[in-house]
């Protein structure tokens, strides 16, 4: 299992949610994970129902089994000042740069430089060791930018190393790329069983592969249960209408006679079933498309009524089951 787990995917598919669930899932007994967010949106704080996270690693949850989850909202501006401090001991000059808008420069016109700082900070957390030489975090899980930007984001250090041909930035960029291109890293894609996210996933995977970045798994989120199989649906649509009306009636839903309450339910229920069947068919197509990508897929259930903390732990449990099954099979 790679120590840096990057979670990308189309916007709104559940990156933040799944990243958090993964951080919980990996925090098994005695383990510590760090969940990092890079888009400055305080999505983690919202999810865990806490106040906005400062630029500081702090414990945010205890996973079932006792592992710990820490969280960090990486702020590009602060990260830049940190770097200036670290490399140049630039106390006041750093502040002056900030006054002049240099930080704005880094974060506005050159998202590239911003991404350098964000990936750099995450990689630093991956490599960090305590006094005894043990890793401080067993896993670092990143709630990453969406599919359309992930390759550029992770690869930015390559670009920077090309643009800045020497100097500390060049060296730093190369160090980060060494982590990101190694098996230490796995980039996962969250998707739904819908055309656009699946298409984006396929494109994203291809881009990552072309950039020689390590692709992880496809995490299919918000999977709804298949409540009826196709055969049952065909049967229902055909000669079973009367039988269904009688069954509804027997279940206490009114008369099965023509015009009775139960009988009047049959058409709308069958119509909903037909829509369901169509959805199931579309989902089957999307599953097929996903299979074509050739990655392992994990499915996570759709949880109704908005997602609360309890729901997050349920998703984490589902992920643990998948991870456990994989481990049993000896997969990475």
């Amino acid at each position: 299992m790679s120590r840096l787990q990057v979670v990308s995917g189309k916007g709104g598919t559940g990156k933040t949610t799944v990243a958090a669930a993964l951080a919980l899932a990996l925090a098994t007994e005695g383990k510590r994970t760090l969940l990092v967010e890079v888009e400055g949106r305080q999505g983690i704080a919202q999810l865990f129902e806490t106040e906005a996270l400062p630029y500081e690693e702090r414990k945010i949850a205890v996973a079932s089994g006792g592992g710990e989850v820490y969280a960090l909202a990486i702020d590009a501006e602060r990260a830049l000042l940190d770097y200036l401090q670290m490399f140049y001991k630039l106390g006041s000059a750093g502040r002056a740069l900030k006054k002049l808008g240099a930080i704005d420069f880094a974060t506005t016109i050159a998202p590239g430089l911003r991404d350098v700082l964000l990936t750099g900070k995450a990689c630093e957390a991956v490599r960090r060791r305590d006094k005894k030489g043990a890793y401080v975090y067993d896993y670092v899980v990143m709630d990453a930018p969406p599919t359309g930007r992930i390759t550029k984001f992770l690869n930015v250090n390559d670009e920077v190393a090309g643009l800045a041909k020497f100097g500390p930035i060049h060296n730093q960029a190369q160090a980060v790329m060494r982590v990101l291109k190694s098996p230490e890293t796995a980039v996962h894609f969250v998707t739904l069983l819908e055309e656009m996210p699946v298409q984006e996933t396929a494109d994203g995977v291809a881009e990552l592969r072309a950039a020689e970045l390590p692709v992880g798994k496809v995490l299919v989120n918000m999977v709804r249960p298949q409540l009826l199989d196709e055969e049952a649906l065909r049967a229902a649509a055909g000669e079973r209408r009367t039988a269904v009306a009688q069954a509804l009636s027997a279940a206490g839903l009114g008369g099965a006679r023509r015009g009775g309450h139960a009988e009047r339910l049959v058409d709308p229920l069958l119509e909903q079933a037909a829509e369901h069947a169509q959805r199931v068919e579309l989902e089957r197509e999307q599953r097929e498309a996903l299979a074509g990508i050739g990655l392992d897929t994990y499915e996570l259930p759709m949880l109704g009524e908005g997602l609360d903390l309890a729901g997050l732990y349920r998703l984490a449990a589902a992920l643990r089951t998948h991870l456990g099954a994989d481990r049993a099979q000896g997969a990475a």
Binding site: L97, G112, L163, R224, A235, P268
Partner: protein
């Protein structure tokens, strides 16, 4: 916002009475009015902005307008079906449109990088333009400037409007978490280009400023020294050349962004806010509505997209589940006692979910009717009499579970929708049903268009 509304927003709005007379939005008068020149479809990510924009374009053209639709990142199949899958950044006539009413539809998909190049070419002298386009810094970062996509969408809108070839322009907006980005990002880019830092970077290129600037210049060269250590001298030089070359254009960028912004405030412009009936999307929609009002930009209404309905709203989720359970037990234990009545009616008192249809609000809860349903005379002796074959019981239980799931979705959507209505009762709303499949061809777009206009 009144304090009551603000409090309502903070507390989840349960304290605000929901008005049951929400004005209905009909897009046809809007599309037919020759004074309508621009329609902008905004909303948070994935709600159906592109679909709505394309559907409006098709409908407008088939109702006789010479329309052009500017799409941004359309789904591949949709782009193919409109014949705009090749990125050449110019509108193409869409085939398969019914042009009987005298209209036509042109469509294009925005190429951000190319639009940026076009702006450079149009605004700088040829040699400067070449210097910028060939600059490695421009090449590697132009597509990634924060707000570029929004800026370029605005830019393209300005270009299309200036050509005056179409009498209606429908604009899609870039996928973004916040609909507000469309309005804010171009200005952010503009204000950056106006920023102090740019001037610092350009300082070496402009040596020999006024004497009074000397002190400042010392400070600046210290800064650029630091930067050059940080970034590597050559990168800094690239950036400086880039910035210097862009210098002549900065005013141009701002002027153009301002002009397009004014266009958005003009009387011929109408905004449609698209949202899915979900908490986040409707919260964004509410912010956007407030912002449009503050900017004096005309809002035509809210498109509530992918709304679920049911043909059997009288059967609540709770009752459906109870009945499914009842049947499930039959499937396992063959009861054969034929005494389903009491068990059924015991669930009849469970709270009903408000009736909702794809179109209506909660105007009809039918509580009395449904609660008494199980005990109405015609129903007291159920004809099924309990003898339900195993497979039929399973099948029916499945149908009921499916229905229960649907009713839960309906109730959730109704709640989120009520919250929005409580905040903005003045906003006209049109609902578009969630279709079971994607929308990826002209027929699908026509279908959405009809739903948008309640036909």
């Amino acid at each position: 916002m009144s304090s009551q509304e603000r409090r309502a927003r903070e507390t989840g709005l349960d304290t605000v009475p929901v008005l049951d007379t929400v004005p209905v939005l009909d897009v046809d008068p809007l599309l037919d009015d020759p004074a309508t020149r621009i329609i902008v479809c905004c909303g948070s990510g994935g709600v159906g902005k592109t679909t709505t924009a394309a559907a409006l374009g098709v409908r407008a053209a088939e109702r006789g307008r010479r329309a052009v639709v500017l799409t941004i990142d359309p789904a591949r199949r949709l782009a193919q079906s409109m014949g705009i899958d090749s990125l050449d950044n110019v509108p193409r006539r869409v085939k398969g449109i019914d042009e009987g009413a005298g209209g036509e539809l042109h469509a294009m998909m925005l190429d951000m990088k190319r639009t940026f190049d076009e702006v450079v070419e149009a605004n700088a002298a040829p040699d400067r333009a070449r210097a910028i386009l060939e600059n490695p810094f421009y090449q590697s970062l132009s597509a990634g400037f924060a707000g570029t996509q929004e800026y370029m969408a605005m830019e393209k809108l300005g270009q299309l409007r200036a050509r005056d070839e179409w009498d209606l322009i429908v604009v899609d907006t870039p996928p973004s978490r916040s609909a507000l980005d469309f309005l804010d990002a171009p200005k952010r880019l503009g204000s950056f280009l106006d920023g102090k830092f740019i001037r610092v970077l350009m300082a070496p290129a402009k040596v020999g400023g006024r004497a009074g600037m000397k002190f400042l210049n010392v400070g600046m060269s210290m800064m650029t020294g630091t930067l050059s250590k940080l970034m590597g001298g050559q990168l800094l030089r690239d950036v400086q050349t880039f910035v210097a070359a862009m210098d002549t254009m900065f005013g141009g960028f701002r002027t153009r962004a301002d002009a397009t912004y004014r266009l958005l405030q003009a009387p011929g412009t109408a905004f449609l806010v698209v949202a899915a009936p979900e908490r986040d999307a409707l919260r964004e929609a509410a912010y956007f509505v407030e912002r449009l009002a503050a900017e004096e930009m005309p809002l035509a209404g809210l498109v509530l997209n992918r709304v679920h309905g049911s043909g059997a709203p009288q059967l609540s989720a709770e009752r459906a589940l109870a009945a499914a359970e009842n049947l499930g037990q039959r499937g396992i234990v063959d009861q054969g006692d034929g005494n389903a009545g009491p068990r059924g009616s015991s669930t009849a008192a469970s709270p009903e979910t408000p009736r909702t249809t794809a179109r209506g609000g909660a105007e009809d809860t039918r509580t009395e009717d449904t609660q008494s349903e199980g005990t109405q005379p015609e129903d007291t002796h159920a004809e099924g009499d309990g003898e339900v074959a195993d497979d039929v019981a399973q099948l029916t239980a499945g149908l009921l579970r499916l229905h229960a799931e649907r009713m839960q979705v309906l109730a959730r959507e109704q709640r989120t929708r009520d919250r929005f209505t409580a905040l903005h009762p003045e906003v006209a709303v049109t609902e578009v049903a969630a279709l079971p499949g994607d929308v990826h061809d002209l027929a699908g777009l026509r279908d959405i268009g009809e739903r948008l206009s309640h036909r």
